[in-house]
Point group: C3
Chain length 137, copies 3
């Protein structure tokens, strides 16, 4: 069995931002030389999420509106009593699903026609790491 570990770093310009990171994951798989296996993509910070969905700007706007409507940025969170102001971000990342595991087949991401891997930043403007762990053969 082989394994390959890569830490991607993202610093978004906006506090809330959505980045398509499919190519970065594909590059990590190529470097790993793993042909068949699994790749875990996990944000190492707890106010961000990795998810798989469409690369379509309208949908990203829909996500933002759904998150805000479900539990607002401006709600008075208990968590914010610690001096933080990002209570919403800790919940939003659970709503989006937090992390994904994808298949590696024939040395590439085994994606459906519209599957794209996104980094959803909910409290950005600072450097954050995403762990990519590939295991297989």
């Amino acid at each position: 069995m082989k394994s390959h570990t890569k830490y991607l770093i993202f610093k978004t310009e906006k506090r809330i931002d959505f980045l398509n990171i499919t190519e970065e994951i594909e590059d990590a798989i190529k470097k790993s030389k793993i042909k068949e296996g699994l790749v875990l993509i996990n944000p190492m910070h707890i106010t961000a999420a990795i998810y798989v969905n469409d690369a379509e700007s309208g949908l990203i706007q829909d996500f933002k509106e759904w998150l805000e409507k479900s539990t607002s940025m401006k709600h008075n969170y208990h968590h914010n009593n610690t001096g933080e102001d990002n209570g919403y971000a800790h919940i939003w990342r659970q709503m989006m699903g937090h992390q994904v595991t994808m298949a590696v087949t024939n040395g590439s991401l085994d994606l459906g026609p519209w599957e794209q891997i996104y980094y959803a930043e909910f409290d950005g403007q600072r450097s954050k790491r995403v762990l990519v762990k590939i295991i297989g053969e």
Copy 2:
């Protein structure tokens, strides 16, 4: 390390439908001859989800009502400006959790007493693929 890749195809009669696919996953594990490992079950289309929960028709109705109440099929999604009418489905699949990874132990799914694996279709009536990737030994 061994690996086994299988693509299941589902075409539901209804636009929104829930299928118990536990047996299909168990069959794929048997064919893989893998005794100890992990199995990823990932829908390759972005308006569907794989989740693990109870095989109980009342609960499935509860899921549908909770999804609709949280963000309605009929809401005016930005995504629908592209000509699509499935904005709700892209969000619902995030709400249900999108995908699961399960354990393979002694050549079978390592399930608790009530765990069943479901395919949740939110925009069906057409053929869709689900990727099953098993790795282990």
Copy 3:
């Protein structure tokens, strides 16, 4: 490839409870002697969730209030017509994300600075199992 399977058992005092189980997962990894790989942490009961987020009591209170506001414990669930009274718990576990897969690097959990692994019990006061499956080398 090596694999290691461990079943943790939790019986919470309260019906709804949140337990930080990071150390139990770290212990299982140490016992597995696996240095590089993946660890799946999956609740074997369908009214509980495993998630990764902050070890902060205010945030846990925020989670409880968000879950209750989104779909109340007291709602009249179809599932409860079976004689159960835990319809809410089956939905809450989907909202929190159900399960996680984490990376094992250099023989330890590969965690960011604030990532902690939690067991979220939504229908407790009885013994429940959590499956920990580690694969790697």
